[in-house]
């Protein structure tokens, strides 16, 4: 990351920069979504685009998620790249026919590429409740023909969004709402991070923690803490969940022999299940302990802060799984960093309402 032109930027700014960069490189590319041109610009990510690229390339849309996804596909098969955005993944459940029956299968069936990127924001906290908080990325990862990206840093967000946009396939690009204000050094201009490559965000030789999106933040907190107690966790950020970088995971397991797979979605049927299944199938003899998983419980996310206390996967849960796996002392387990107060916001910058 020692790029000379790199500057400290938020995740939101990174997304915005990637969009500007892509629309500059490809003068036909379009960008639309509910609120794409409104004064808030989808949490700031699309601000300024309409001014720079004009009303025909950047536009708001009717509340018609299904048809508007089909519109992107239709334009794509005539060579128009697009980025469409939905402020919550939950709204996009209306558009799955177009995504799965058309976009994902078009190249396979007709041999014509569908270069669309669909940005979905996954909500959490501040009472978002059952239908504004779903992390259903496992669904997308189940569908042949889709690529699915889940960046955890501003840096990755920019590099992966640019790669997604210029990928000839439909890409679902998932932004965790709690990452929008996170900051990292991000290069100016065009730079790409390959889709399908995981990143070792912390090397270690005792346990492999496989993680994605916001949970990388918690994994790092846990790993930093455990490191102080002599447990060296290797934190792998998947970055892309379809395709998954299996060689990177297998290689890490070959050195650690232990796996904890995290997931921001419901446990049953999670991407973490696929990770555990494949690792077990491929690295069975290398495993020193039963693999473990941590994910959201198999219940809808309730709204009340009284009910979401302790609901999310946090560093202390991660520590406790690793303690159990390694038979570490109770003190280590109990000393782990706990859920901050208030627990339902990503930081002081977040004042609601969504």
């Amino acid at each position: 990351m020692n790029n000379p032109a790199a500057q400290s930027k938020t995740f939101t700014e990174s997304i915005n920069e990637a969009l500007v960069q892509a629309m500059t490189l490809d003068s036909q590319m379009i960008c639309y979504g509910l609120g794409a041109t409104d004064p808030k610009g989808i949490f700031g990510t699309t601000l300024g685009l309409e001014d720079k690229f004009g009303k025909s390339r950047v536009f708001d849309m009717p509340t018609s998620e299904n048809a508007m996804t089909g519109v992107a596909i239709g334009a794509a098969i005539d060579g128009i790249r697009s980025v469409t955005t939905h402020q919550r993944l939950d709204f996009f459940l209306l558009a799955l026919d177009q995504l799965v029956n058309s976009a994902a299968k078009w190249f396979y069936t007709y041999g014509r590429p569908v270069p669309i990127t669909i940005r979905l924001i996954m909500g959490r906290g501040w009472g978002q409740g059952p239908t504004h908080s779903q992390n259903l990325h496992a669904w997308f990862a189940h569908i042949p023909g889709l690529k699915v990206v889940m960046p955890s840093t501003a840096y990755d967000a920019k590099g992966l969004l640019l790669s997604s946009i210029f990928d000839p396939n439909p890409v679902v690009f998932l932004e965790h709402r709690w990452l929008h204000n996170s900051v990292s050094d991000v290069p100016d201009g065009d730079f790409r991070i390959p889709i399908g490559k995981a990143k070792i965000v912390r090397p270690g030789k005792t346990v492999t923690i496989v993680s994605m999106s916001y949970l990388v933040v918690e994994a790092m907190l846990a790993a930093d803490y455990l490191n102080k107690h002599g447990v060296e966790c290797e934190v792998l950020d998947l970055r892309t969940i379809k395709p998954i970088d299996w060689p990177a995971i297998y290689y890490s397991i070959s050195r650690t022999g232990r796996l904890l797979a995290l997931d921001t979605g419901h446990l049953t049927g999670s991407v973490a299940a696929e990770v555990v299944a494949r690792v077990t199938q491929h690295c069975f003899d290398q495993l020193k302990a039963a693999p473990r998983r941590l994910a959201m419980p198999d219940v809808p996310e309730p709204s009340s802060p009284g009910l979401t206390k302790g609901f999310y996967v946090r560093a202390n849960h991660i520590v406790s799984e690793i303690c159990a796996m390694m038979n570490l002392s109770r003190e280590i387990c109990e000393g782990a960093p706990i859920e901050p107060e208030p627990h339902d916001v990503p930081g002081n910058w977040f004042k609601g309402p969504f």
Binding site: L34, G35, T37, D38, P39, K40, F59, D60, M61, P62, T63, S64, E65, N66, A67, D90, F91, L93, L94, W126, G127, Q128, G129, P130, T131, H132, P297, D298, V299, P300, P302, S303, S304, P305, G306, L307, T308, K309, G310, F311, P342, D344, K351, G352, P353, F354
Partner: protein, 333 residues
């Protein structure tokens, strides 16, 4: 003032007073939520109905307790107008165990089945087919209930709306679709979402359903239209679609004003504020009978007090146990 002419002998003071009470209650609850939201204790996305009280307040006087209603993210007014418990609504906004969903839903999920208010959903258009299903149930059970479905102008863009109207007409279901056209979906004006000069109710009429259009800020006019259409829907003639013009005063979601964002002009806002359904109805009442002024002062005090108590109730209620989050996912648990 243009609406003076409407004050004729038909003006029913008793009904007008009831409607006034509804408006005043909704307005005051919403204003108090707006005032207290920045305290950070109501931790959920919250969409206020201030400025849009005319339609629900008049509707309230036209439907029966056992009629059904469903609504949207902006559902406080409809919930209260149907007679939903104020304590349970505020409890829900505060995330308390006394909330109508025991804190599971927040502001966008309100329910009070004891008064036929069956729920609000946070996905635009999502509750429309549910309302149609409730009407189907009423038809099957041969009750004379009707099902009222509140929706915004944005929801008209969802395919589910169109599918729902079609089915309601095919099966002649006792549905009343009530579209509150407040010109915006979040910060997006109608012009970027629907054809210029399209008239929503005319379009819907062509689907094969009876429709009316009315001024949503004229509560007594709303009452007239509602009375007729409720009668139709209840008579077995099939569904009815109503569109009312109205305007949201505050920001789309949250407690503030947001005209400074320039997605709408200050002038437009002021024009609509002059059409305030509360002031309008009060003027009508006082024109009819000047002694009502004193009565309203009284009533206001009672309502204000009720609201204060409800906020106190909600604030003092306990949170649900965190462990409750993991229970009752299934109805047979």
């Amino acid at each position: 003032m243009g609406f003076m002419k409407e004050i004729n002998n038909d003006f029913n003071v008793r009904i007008a007073l009831n409607i006034w009470k509804n408006i005043y209650l909704i307005r005051s609850v919403e204003e108090k939520i707006a005032k207290k939201y920045p305290e950070g204790k109501m931790r959920c996305p919250t969409h206020l109905s201030i400025g849009q009280e005319g339609v629900p307040a008049a509707w309230s006087e036209c439907v029966r307790n056992n009629d059904f209603a469903v609504s949207t993210h902006r559902g406080h007014a409809h919930y209260l107008a149907k007679g939903g418990s104020l304590n349970a609504m505020l409890g829900e906004l505060y995330g308390k165990v006394t909330g109508c969903c025991r804190g599971r839903g927040g502001s966008m999920h309100l329910v009070d089945t004891s008064v036929g208010f069956m729920g609000t959903t946070a996905i635009v258009g999502n509750s429309i087919p549910l309302g149609v299903g409730l009407a189907l149930s009423a038809q099957l059970k041969e009750t004379d209930q009707i099902s009222c479905i509140f929706l915004g102008d944005g929801a008209v863009e969802e395919g589910a709306f169109y599918e729902s109207v079609n089915f309601a007409v095919v099966r002649k279901l006792p549905v009343l679709f009530i579209c509150e056209n407040n010109l915006y979906s979040v910060y997006s004006p109608l012009s970027v979402r629907q054809p210029k000069d399209r008239n929503i109710s005319a379009m819907v009429n062509a689907m094969g359903i009876q429709t009316s259009f009315g001024d949503g800020n004229d509560p007594m006019a709303v009452f007239d239209i509602m009375t007729k259409s409720v009668k139709c829907a209840r008579s077995g003639e099939g569904p009815f679609f109503l569109e009312f013009s109205t305007y949201r005063w505050r920001e789309h979601c949250g407690h503030s004003y947001d005209n400074h964002l320039n997605y709408r002009s200050e002038q437009e806002f002021e024009e609509w504020r002059l059409k305030d359904p509360l002031l309008r109805l009060e003027k009508q009442l006082f024109d009819k009978d000047v002694t009502l002024e004193a009565i309203l002062v009284q009533k206001r005090m009672l309502i204000d007090h009720e609201i204060d108590l409800a906020f106190q109730f909600a604030e003092e209620s306990p949170y649900p146990e965190a462990s409750e989050a993991y229970t009752k996912v299934y109805a047979d648990e």
